[in-house]
């Protein structure tokens, strides 16, 4: 297919458009990094800051002195520790149970699941329900309300359903129960889809923000994204409203960008290496569509 051909006009146009598009994504990141390593003075004096002349770690030092980011890191890691096993356990059980065939109630259960994709209570009833369980202010409230993502479950279900039935049949003849079949036979064959779904959940929990903002008001238990939001956005509002207030920690642009870097760094570091696992989910989902 890739025969050597002469470079024509279209090649040049395609190359230029894609390169520009790529740069429009890349340059903002470079700028964020550059600002995070610059002093406020250099930031204000240098237009088109892409490379700081006198790089400084002052912003990062200030950020960690302030301590809120560390609270955020700790909370987010705790949240992942609680929520990821819950997410995965529910997703695997649902996908396995629904991938099995020929038992009474399967269709009904499927309808029960699909209905929640069509219709949901929305955030207010969810909030009140979680409150009635006494889980407001607890990471468990956030973890359990994210519980299971039906789309990810369907990706896994599609994968399980594509495995040959004979695997399960022969295991049953050998006297294996459903749990044994799920853990010993199906899951070891499903490492690819497990990796993909785990990554999706990891990213979602890392980016968890809305539920946490609503359900957790205690500043000592706020996840990373909520803290980042208050550093970037609330201080922007504070600048306008109360500039002189003493007790408000003033955030320089460098510090705000530093906090962005700190929050996205883990995703940035692993993404290039795990990209193919992320993509796999789309492709498994696409088989169905």
């Amino acid at each position: 297919m890739n025969k050597k051909r002469k470079i024509d006009k279209i090649d040049i146009i395609v190359f230029i458009v894609l390169t520009m598009w790529g740069l429009s994504i890349l340059i903002p990141f470079v700028n964020v990094l550059a600002v995070s390593f610059s002093t406020q003075k250099e930031y204000l004096e240098t237009p088109l800051l892409l490379w700081p002349k006198k790089p400084t770690l002052e912003n990062y030092a200030a950020l960690f002195r302030n301590g809120r980011i560390l609270i955020g890191y700790r909370t987010t890691l705790q949240l992942i520790g609680i929520a990821l096993p819950v997410n995965l356990f529910l997703t695997i059980c649902a996908a396995y149970g629904l991938s099995r065939k020929g038992y009474p109630g399967r269709k009904l259960f499927m309808k029960f699941v699909v209905f929640t994709m069509l219709f949901s209570g929305g955030i207010i009833p969810l909030y009140l329900t979680v409150r009635s369980y006494g889980l407001i202010g607890s990471l468990w409230g956030v973890a359990l309300s994210t519980g299971l993502n039906t789309f990810y479950m369907i990706i896994m279900l599609n994968f399980f359903a594509s495995l040959p039935d004979s695997l399960i049949e022969s295991a049953k003849l050998d006297g294996a129960g459903e749990y044994t079949i799920m853990f010993r036979i199906i899951l070891p064959l499903s490492k690819a889809v497990l990796a993909t779904v785990t990554l999706y959940y990891l990213v979602d929990r890392w980016n968890e923000w809305y539920h946490a903002m609503i359900m957790i008001r205690d500043t000592a238990k706020t996840p990373l994204q909520v803290i980042l939001r208050s550093i970037i956005l609330d201080s922007q509002l504070l600048d306008e409203v109360v500039t002189e207030s003493v007790d408000i920690f003033s955030f320089s642009d460098g510090l705000k960008m530093g906090s962005i870097v700190v929050v996205m760094l883990p995703v940035m570091c692993v993404f290039p290496f795990l990209q193919k696992h992320f993509v796999k989910g789309v492709l498994i989902g696409a088989i169905k569509a």
Binding site: G121, L173, P272
Partner: protein, 328 residues
């Protein structure tokens, strides 16, 4: 454990049993599966269906001490208030304006990107570009907003460029007329690359014979795109468009909420933001907020049903057709 039952599965006396007996036998035989599904069922009940039942608050006056079920009924009071509130209508219109706008403005970008990538013949460069294009999709809107504000602020990159070329700096963030275009632009920036993957996969599935045949006929590259590539990915485009239609009422809270600020209040209060504002930024009236929630869910259901009908009509299978697929 269920060995004996499995073996006796197809024994002849099966046919003599009544429906009820066979049902009981079927349930007992598959009890392992039910045990696996039990936690899932519990979760769906506790965190999906109980909140759904909580929608009854839309017809009640919520009293904290009485809870959702014990609060007194109040009829359509909240809906009367809702439908006479201009702020509510503005938020609905704005939601439709932004999210229908997405269907026509941001929707084509992943397709264009996929077409461009498909035409790029430098494979290593293509892979690098794809990594760059897909990465922003995995950042939260909080991060993307932070980056956007940094680039578009008065001292930011774009305004610096404008100054270099002698223009006057523009307030991108606090400008009502630029807010909705900004929503579209950031959406493309964040998600177009990720969205292009599904189209690239569809393109990879096109029979190379089609292109070879067209080479013999002397087709140009543009002709090949128009007459082979585009028609081949049309089914995927249709499905994606229909899926997007089903999100008209739901999409965009995190994005719009984070991008908005007091200066653009009039063009940023979509339905979900309105619900948030009156519930978590004011003294809440949970009955009224729930009425809004119910309205949103019902309208969204309406769009999904239309989308589903459209999908059945165009592609022959519904959006939620996996039950049929798996049961054959």
């Amino acid at each position: 454990m269920s060995k004996i039952n499995t073996v006796s599965h197809s024994s002849p006396q099966n046919s003599k049993k009544t429906y009820f007996q066979r049902l009981i036998q079927g349930i007992w035989k598959n009890r392992g599966i039910y045990m696996i599904l039990l936690p899932v069922l519990l979760w769906y009940i506790l965190f999906q269906y109980v909140p759904m039942a909580g929608l009854q608050l839309a017809f009640k006056d919520y009293k904290v001490n009485l809870g959702i079920w014990g609060s007194p009924w109040s009829g359509f009071k909240h809906f009367n208030r809702l439908f006479s509130n201009p702020r509510f209508f503005n938020s609905v219109l704005l939601t439709l304006r932004i999210n229908i706008g997405r269907l026509f403005i941001t929707f084509p970008f992943p397709i264009i990107l996929a077409l461009l990538l498909n035409e790029l013949r430098m494979n290593r460069y293509k892979r690098t570009l794809q990594t760059i294009f897909t990465f922003p999709n995995f950042l939260s809107w909080v991060v993307v907003t932070g980056i956007t504000i940094n680039v578009l602020s008065f001292d930011g990159l774009v305004n610096s460029l404008i100054r270099v070329f002698g223009g006057t700096p523009v307030s991108f963030i606090g400008n009502e007329s630029l807010f909705i275009p900004l929503v579209f632009a950031t959406e493309v920036w964040k998600s177009a690359g990720w969205g292009s993957i599904i189209y690239l996969a569809a393109m990879a599935g096109i029979d190379p014979g089609l292109y070879e045949a067209s080479d013999i006929d002397g087709a140009t590259r543009i002709q090949k795109i128009i007459y082979i590539t585009l028609p081949s990915i049309l089914p995927t485009v249709t499905v994606m468009f229909i899926l997007a239609t089903g999100n008209i009422m739901k999409k965009g809270f995190e994005q719009v909420f984070n991008l908005s600020n007091p200066a653009v209040r009039n063009v940023s209060e979509i339905l979900d933001v309105y619900i948030y504002n009156i519930t978590f930024r004011a003294v809440p009236n949970f009955g009224y907020s729930t009425a809004l929630s119910l309205f949103r869910s019902v309208v969204n259901l309406f769009f999904l049903v239309i989308a589903n009908a459209g999908s059945k009509w165009l592609t022959g299978s519904g959006l939620f057709g996996m039950e049929e697929n798996q049961n054959e």
